[in-house]
Structure formats: structure tokens, C-alpha cells
């Protein structure tokens, strides 16, 4: 007996099982994955605190020291000279998302080693959807962290116009998804948890420092042309600029295009990496 309207089917002993292909199933699955990520985040208070403390240390100590040595001239989207704290806040917001993306990557490697990734990957919905849902759940948590940081940054008198706090939401969603997709891709290539230290050294630090997060690119260009090229090609630079422009109600199409392009490439490679037929996890034998 099938009840197409309800998207359900009766099997065997009258046992009722939700059709794996119903739209409701997709929605409930996404809801469940986001709820789990949210609960884990709330329960791991250390994670929440470190996510907030890290950028606040940069803002309160690093930026305070730098403001007297580094002047920021008038560059878009700013319409006047800005204190260094104002300049650095969008970069620190992106840093939260970068760390969050890598944290998700770490937790996926951990989950794979510990087995709980198997629970996700052996559920009926397509793997691309499960991975995307997990990615979005992580991004939702990172957006919350960024808003908490932006609220605290007002204590340093870093205040964007009210509409900037609204306009930055889609930018955070796009940038966070791109950085999360990078984390997902890395998690499919990292076999063991121990290798994660390499991610810190070879991915997070270079991406963060070789970007416009801490200093404007024209300053970098004055110092070194090749470093400027590296920074300009760095996807994280474009995530930072996307957020910076959005926070002041402006749209930077170049950054948006680069971030979107990187998102598509990273996500496609990550889905390939987790593909049971072709991906790296299958070739190596996963956690076994």
C-alpha cells in the first residue's frame, strides 16, 4: 500500500517507512543535521569561547599595537580614513569562518576515524546532499559566531551602518560555504587525525597571512610584487573583501565571482573525494 500524497510506503509487516525520495525527507534530514551541529556547538563551550576569544585577541591586542604603525588610507568601501581596528574587523570575521571551516574538516576526519561519519554516509539520501547539509550546518554555526563577534567589536567602536549588518549575511553565507567546502575537501584527503597539524601550517596560516585580512593589498604591493600576486589570487582575500564591502552595504562583484567559483570547484572535488565509487576514501579503504 502506497500513499503517494504522504510520500510514504508500507513494507513488510505493515512497517511504515518514509519514502527516501520525498521532499519532506530532504527537509527533515537537513533540519536534523543542523540541529545536531547546533547542539554539539552549544555543548562544547570551549569551542564557542575559543571561536570568540581568538578574533578578540587580534582585535584587542594586535590591532591596538598596529594602529600606530599602520595607517590605512582611503580605500573602498571606506569613505574616509579609518582606524586600524575598523579595517581589521572584516578580516577577523572571515578568520572565524576560516577556522570554523577547518574545525568542521577536523571533526569530519575525527568522525571518520571514530565511525560516526558512517552513520551519516549510510543513510539513504544522496551523498552530495548529506555533505552539503553538513556543510551548511557548519556555516550556520560560523555565522552566529561572526555576529557575536561583530556585536562585541562595537565595544571598540567598530560600528557598521545598520543595513551593513543585514547585507553581510549573504556574504557570510557565501564566504562560509566556500571555506567550509575547502575544509570538506581537505577532510576527504586527510587520512589521519595527526595529519591535521599540517593543515594548520600549510593551509590556515598561509591563507590568513597572505590575504587582505590584516593589511590592505596596496601595502603588500609596495613591499613585494610577487606576494601581492599571491594575496590577490588567494580565495580568502576575496572572502574578506566580500564581507568588508557587504558590511558597508556595498557589493564587490569580483570577490563574489571568485568566492562562488572557488565554492563550486571545492565542493565538486569534495563530493568526488567522498564518492563511494570513485573517491579517495574508497580507494584507500577509509578508516580501516
Amino acid at each position: 500500500m502506497t500513499d503517494a500524497a504522504a510520500g510514504r510506503v508500507l513494507i513488510g509487516h505493515g512497517a511504515e517507512t518514509a519514502s527516501p525520495l520525498g521532499a519532506r525527507h530532504y527537509f527533515r534530514c537537513l533540519e536534523g543535521i543542523v540541529r545536531r551541529e547546533w547542539l554539539r556547538f552549544l555543548r562544547q563551550r570551549g569551542r564557542f569561547l575559543s571561536a570568540l576569544v581568538r578574533p578578540l585577541v587580534w582585535l584587542g591586542i594586535f590591532a591596538a599595537g598596529f594602529r600606530f604603525t599602520l595607517g590605512v588610507s582611503i580605500i573602498p568601501p571606506y569613505e574616509t580614513y579609518v582606524p586600524y581596528e575598523v579595517y581589521v574587523v572584516p578580516g577577523l570575521a572571515a578568520m572565524i569562518q576560516l577556522f570554523n571551516g577547518m574545525q568542521s574538516s577536523l571533526s569530519m576526519v575525527y568522525d571518520r576515524e571514530m565511525g560516526s561519519m558512517r552513520v551519516l554516509l549510510t543513510s539513504p539520501l544522496p551523498r552530495w546532499y548529506l555533505l552539503s547539509a553538513k556543510l551548511l550546518a557548519g556555516v550556520a554555526v560560523s555565522i552566529l559566531q561572526v555576529y557575536a563577534f561583530l556585536a562585541i567589536a562595537r565595544l571598540w567602536e567598530v560600528e557598521a551602518p545598520w543595513y551593513g549588518y543585514v547585507a553581510v549575511l549573504p556574504a557570510l553565507l557565501l564566504a562560509g560555504t566556500m571555506l567550509g567546502a575547502l575544509g570538506l575537501l581537505l577532510s576527504s584527503t586527510i587520512r589521519q587525525l595527526e595529519n591535521f597539524a599540517g593543515v594548520m601550517n600549510f593551509v590556515i596560516f598561509p591563507m590568513f597571512f597572505a590575504s587582505s585580512a590584516l593589511y590592505p593589498l596596496w601595502r603588500v604591493k609596495e613591499a613585494s610584487l610577487w606576494l601581492w600576486y599571491v594575496c590577490a589570487l588567494n580565495p580568502f582575500t576575496h572572502a574578506v573583501e566580500l564581507i568588508r564591502f557587504a558590511l558597508y552595504g556595498r557589493f564587490d562583484p569580483t570577490s563574489a565571482a571568485v568566492v562562488l567559483g572557488c565554492l563550486v570547484v571545492f565542493m565538486a572535488l569534495a563530493i568526488w573525494g567522498y564518492d563511494p565509487a570513485r573517491g579517495l576514501v574508497a580507494r584507500r579503504g577509509g578508516s580501516e
Binding site: A18, S19, R43, A277, V281
Partner: protein
């Protein structure tokens, strides 16, 4: 040596599927549709290393099937392929007639899995863990409430519903994992070395509980282990060694075919010559 193939099952009397979605062979009539899990000609390689070699067997509803093998025999690889963690490149896997490679969603929704490694979120409560699994399988809120209550009662953990998993003992965590695997009411239950790390009482509870599921709910069970003690006299046995099925059938059939006095001696005789021949 293969001692026997499946005996036509008295196990599945009165348990024909009433209906199926229009997916491939799902609507096929008996007897094919009454095979819960059919593995045929399955091989798998990690690089050049052959982990499984032409593995074939079938299990039926209501049967307690023990996949018996030493560590490294290929049990976990077989589980990974049957649960589609990796795709198989040769051979076929069907779950209630549904080819796993062609319709993984339909096949996976019919199976419950308990993995060898613990897979619960320690920082979440028992109920939150179960709700997460229910969401992955698309169950509605009303269904989730009643099924969680019934599932936890079955494994005698109703009073631990709101406790964090971290506070539970190893045996209790395993029981939660079994309740979770059954939440979407699968008719095929796969357990990969589920008693690892449990004390004697915990092991016995688990074995009795799962055997009860076979008897009372006609669930087909594939129970992977390297512990011969876990093979009851009513079980069907699949002996896996170096990736190959050395024997399969009832305990009596395997014992008879090997000309040995017990299943322990039968198992030894099946794996020892291969061991010494390598």
C-alpha cells in the same frame, strides 16, 4: 569449501511484502523478493591487495546469520560494501531484491547498521542521538516520539533517555546503537563485531536481544564476529577467511561438511590449512 546453500525458508511464512515502490526488482514476486540480503560474486581490492574474493551468500528474513572470521578476514570490508561506504566494482549486492548500486536509497532505507566503532555523539543525550538518526531517515515528529519510546523500552533504557551518552556504560551505549539502528524499522540488521569491549552480561544481553528480534519480528540479521561462542545452534554461519567464503550453512551443515565434532573444530579446520598453506 561451501557446505550448503540456503535451505528454502520456512522462516518467511506469511511475511511477503505487501507493496513496494516501483523500483527495479522491488516488486518481484517470491521467492526472490524474500531474500533479505543477496551477495553474489563480490570481490574488492585496496590497490593491488585483494580484500574480498568472489564472495557469495544469501540471508533470509528471520534468520540469525553469523559472519565468522578472524581479524583481517574481510568482514569490515564486506560491511563497508554492503552499507555502500564504498561502491563495489564487481559482483552484485541486493537488499530485498533491490540492487544496491542502482538504487542505494531504497536499499539503505531497508537496513539498520551497528558499526564496530562506537558511533554515538557523546555530548548529546540518548534521545538527541536517536532524533538525529530519525531525521536522516526522514521520520516525522510523531513517529519519532513513539518509536524512540518503544525502542528504548525494548533495550531497557527508557530511564536514560535524557542522559548524555558520555554517562552511559559501554554495554548501554551498544544498546542505544541497536535501538537507533531499528528506529526506521528496517527488515535487515547488520552488526559488525557488536560485542567488542563488552562484559559477559552485556554480550549475553545483546545476543539474546538480537536473537529475539529475529524470532519475534522476523528481522534478518547478519552478525559479524571472530568469537565462536556467539554462534548459537540455531544460527546460520558464513565462514570468511582471507576474503573468501570457506563455508556457509546451518551449524549442523557446516559441522557435517567438515567432518568435525563441533563448530569450533569446523572453524579451525577451515582456517588452519589455509593459514599453513600461506
Amino acid at each position: 569449501m561451501t557446505s550448503s546453500v540456503e535451505a528454502p525458508g520456512e522462516e518467511h511464512r506469511g511475511h511477503r511484502r505487501r507493496a513496494e515502490p516501483d523500483r527495479s526488482r522491488a516488486a518481484s514476486p517470491a521467492p526472490e523478493a524474500e531474500i533479505a540480503l543477496e551477495v553474489a560474486g563480490l570481490s574488492h581490492f585496496y590497490g593491488v591487495r585483494r580484500a574480498l574474493d568472489d564472495v557469495s551468500f544469501a540471508i533470509r528474513p528471520g534468520g540469525f546469520n553469523v559472519l565468522l572470521g578472524l581479524n583481517g578476514a574481510g568482514k569490515s570490508t564486506l560491511f563497508s560494501l554492503v552499507t555502500r561506504l564504498y561502491a563495489h566494482r564487481s559482483g552484485t549486492i541486493r537488499v530485498f531484491g533491490v540492487p544496491l548500486d542502482r538504487d542505494p536509497a531504497a536499499a539503505l532505507s531497508r537496513m539498520g547498521v551497528v558499526f564496530q566503532q562506537p558511533t554515538l555523539d557523546l555530548d548529546l543525550t540518548v534521545e538527541e542521538n536517536l532524533r538525529y538518526h530519525a531525521a536522516l531517515h526522514g521520520l516525522s515528529r510523531a513517529e519519532v516520539r513513539t518509536r524512540i519510546a518503544a525502542g528504548l523500552e525494548r533495550v531497557a533504557l527508557s530511564d536514560r533517555r535524557r542522559d548524555r551518552v558520555r554517562a552511559l556504560s559501554g554495554g548501554q551505549r551498544r544498546r542505544v546503537e541497536i535501538a537507533r539502528a531499528l528506529l526506521h524499522e528496517p527488515r535487515l540488521l547488520l552488526l559488525d563485531e557488536p560485542t567488542v569491549g563488552l562484559d559477559v552480561a552485556g554480550r549475553q544481553f545483546l545476543l539474546d536481544h538480537v536473537r529475539g528480534l529475529c524470532r519475534e519480528q522476523r528481522i534478518a540479521v547478519l552478525w559479524a564476529t571472530h568469537l565462536i561462542d556467539e554462534v548459537g545452534s540455531d544460527a546460520r554461519v558464513i565462514v570468511l577467511h582471507h576474503g573468501r567464503v570457506m563455508a556457509h550453512g546451518t551449524v549442523d551443515e557446516v559441522v557435517g561438511a567438515t567432518g568435525t565434532p563441533s563448530i569450533r573444530a569446523a572453524f579451525d579446520s577451515l582456517v588452519t590449512p589455509a593459514e599453513s598453506g600461506r
